[in-house]
């Protein structure tokens, strides 16, 4: 009994130490300039502008690929798939993929996206890599959400003459939305902190420019050049600063880590809250 409390305390204390240590080291560097400056050789002037812009763009790309693919796979496996060896293979495969180390995804991306598809060290390559990485998370969350919808809803819709797709589109997807959203947020929180696969595809650690803007003054007004731009992301910026010997750069690393932890904590907390609401609020 007491041992249990103690063991739990180890987790709590570590987390507190980690958070306090980072906050104490980094808080002095947190200012408006820190968010609007590029990285620099002088630690006091270095900032995370290119890192947070890069992270945002990579996350957008990841979500663009992972959410439709994951939701579609989940719907197929729950609503359409007949029990066959193909379905079995897909299911076993998803379970296995969830256990593959993230750096192996990095190697896949290096061999396939960067060299065979010729995408180079671009935002698109990174976004695709992270999308594949979080795909199992999104699929599993979608399936769980769909599975909790009572059979009566489907039968009612079929009785009124709806087709299978109409049932999925008008009933299954809307009702499973909060569950899917929870899974997507947890997946994105994981993707935003992933460092290893992005280092493996060869993202640069020192970027002092922004990708081309997505909006232009002249027609056609939108440009997708940013997809092919070199980039850096928050965790890589932090890694770069951590691996330098000067203590002043460690302060920057702490500040960047603090921002990163706050972001992932906020996302996870949102997901946990959503799930809590979900468990309480639903009455079929």
């Amino acid at each position: 009994m007491l041992v249990g409390v103690l063991a739990l305390m180890v987790g709590v204390l570590t987390f507190a130490a980690l958070f306090a240590n980072m906050a104490l080291d980094g808080i002095g560097r947190l200012s408006w300039d820190f968010f609007t400056n590029f990285p620099s050789r002088r630690p006091a002037q270095a900032g995370i502008l290119s890192a947070w812009v890069g992270s945002t763009l990579v996350m957008l790309t990841t979500a663009f690929f992972a959410v439709p693919l994951g939701v579609a796979s989940g719907i197929y496996l729950e609503e359409y798939a007949a029990k066959s060896w193909v379905t079995d293979i897909i299911e076993i495969n998803i379970t296995n993929l969830a256990g593959v180390p993230s750096i192996v995804y990095g190697l896949l991306a290096l061999g396939l996206f960067v060299y065979q598809f010729g995408l180079g060290q671009s935002i698109l390559a990174a976004g695709l890599t992270l999308a594949l990485l979080i795909l199992p998370v999104v699929i599993v969350a979608t399936r769980e959400a769909i599975r909790s919808i009572p059979q009566g809803i489907r039968e009612g819709a079929y009785a009124l003459g709806a087709t299978q797709w109409q049932v999925s589109k008008d009933h299954i997807i809307p009702y499973s939305m909060p569950g899917i959203l929870t899974g997507v947020i947890i997946g994105m929180a994981r993707a935003i902190g992933e460092t290893a696969p992005i280092i493996t595809i060869g993202a640069l650690t020192f970027i002092a420019f922004l990708p081309p803007a997505p909006l232009k003054a002249e027609a056609p007004f939108v440009s997708f050049d940013w997809l092919f731009s070199p980039f850096t992301v928050m965790p890589i910026q932090m890694f770069n600063w951590t691996s330098r010997p000067e203590a002043a750069f460690h302060q920057n690393a702490a500040a960047a880590g603090f921002v990163l932890v706050l972001m992932t904590l906020a996302m996870n907390a949102l997901a946990i809250w959503l799930r809590y609401r979900l468990r309480k609020g639903i009455e079929w």
Partner: protein
């Protein structure tokens, strides 16, 4: 769907609105079929991912093993792929991976199990409702942040106990990695223990067992298959962990099983090579795929072992 065939056959004799209705129905059936195929293709993406991983790793490794024999890869006691006198002994990197994983598991397995038993069998409801999400948050912290923590907080702390401890070492990295893995171990073990039916506990209490005896001698053995798979997941997490080791354990290949020394792991080596700019197609470039293949085989073995354990020890109620 089988209604289409007779509809097609008779549609020529039907007139006016009937044929319109039939053609609309046919287009609806076609659309349903198209949508089903699209969804199926989406589900296949995950299979293609696995195929892609295996293809890339094997393809590059095959080229690598044309330069380096499998025997020397497995038995050479040096790992110096970038020197003129190149040696490719994966044993060196494997020793770092195994040592750091062992340290991590010595932290994660006891603590994770105790937390799981406590939360499942002893903790009041309120505490459990708070503790579970909190542990999830702990698992959601980016590993790069844990790496920073290991380097600038845990290592100096350990240096007070062992003043000779180098700045990079497997011990600090392993300890922090263990703490990172606790949530994975505890949450799956707890789910397994909570799935044990109440009647087993009631039976045990009826025999006069205490709460502690019930937990350790009835609930834990009954949930063993789930707990074992939690451990296996912990092992494969530890083996595949990258950033904590790349930051806190150093990148110097070192054949050692002493956690007080710095040593590179398989994952840290891949990061190190990716950070430099090795030309595409060089032997150095191919080493990371051979290293990755080793890693992949190791985690695959873990997954299979976990599956076998679960089958062998599954208790049926």
């Amino acid at each position: 769907m089988s209604a289409v065939a007779p509809g097609l056959a008779t549609s020529t004799v039907l007139q006016g609105s009937d044929s319109l209705r039939l053609s609309r129905r046919r287009s609806r059936v076609v659309r349903e079929r198209v949508i089903e195929s699209v969804l199926f293709l989406a589900a296949l993406v995950s299979v293609f991912t696995t195929v892609g991983i295996v293809y890339i790793l094997v393809k590059e490794s095959v080229v690598f093993f044309q330069h380096v024999s499998l025997v020397s890869f497995l038995t050479d006691r040096q790992w110096t792929p970038l020197f003129d006198d190149a040696h490719f002994g994966i044993m060196v990197l494997l020793s770092g991976t195994l040592t750091s994983s062992a340290v991590a598991l010595m932290i994660a397995i006891p603590l994770g199990t105790v937390i799981a038993i406590y939360l499942s069998e002893f903790a009041p409801f309120k505490l459990r409702e708070v503790a579970k999400p909190f542990l999830e948050l702990l698992g959601g912290v980016p590993t790069i942040v844990y790496g920073y923590f290991a380097l600038v907080f845990v290592t100096p702390l350990l240096q007070r106990i062992y003043p000779d401890l180098p700045g990079f070492n497997l011990l600090a990295a392993g300890i922090v990695m263990g703490i990172m893995i606790i949530p994975y171990v505890s949450s799956i073990s707890e789910d397994a223990m909570r799935a044990v039916p109440m009647s087993l506990r009631e039976g045990s209490y009826a025999m006069g067992a205490t709460r502690f005896q019930t937990a350790t001698r009835v609930v834990v053995p009954a949930a063993f298959s789930g707990i074992a798979s939690a451990y296996i997941l912990g092992i494969s997490r530890a083996v595949g962990e990258t950033m904590i080791l790349a930051i806190a354990a150093g990148m110097q290949p070192n054949l050692t099983f002493n956690p007080l020394e710095p040593a590179a792991t398989i994952t840290a080596y891949i990061v190190q090579v990716a950070l430099g700019d090795l030309p595409h197609g060089s032997v150095g470039y191919q080493t990371i795929f051979a290293a990755g293949l080793t890693l992949m085989l190791f985690t695959l073995a873990c997954n299979i072992a976990g599956h076998a354990l679960r089958k062998r020890f599954r208790e049926s109620y």
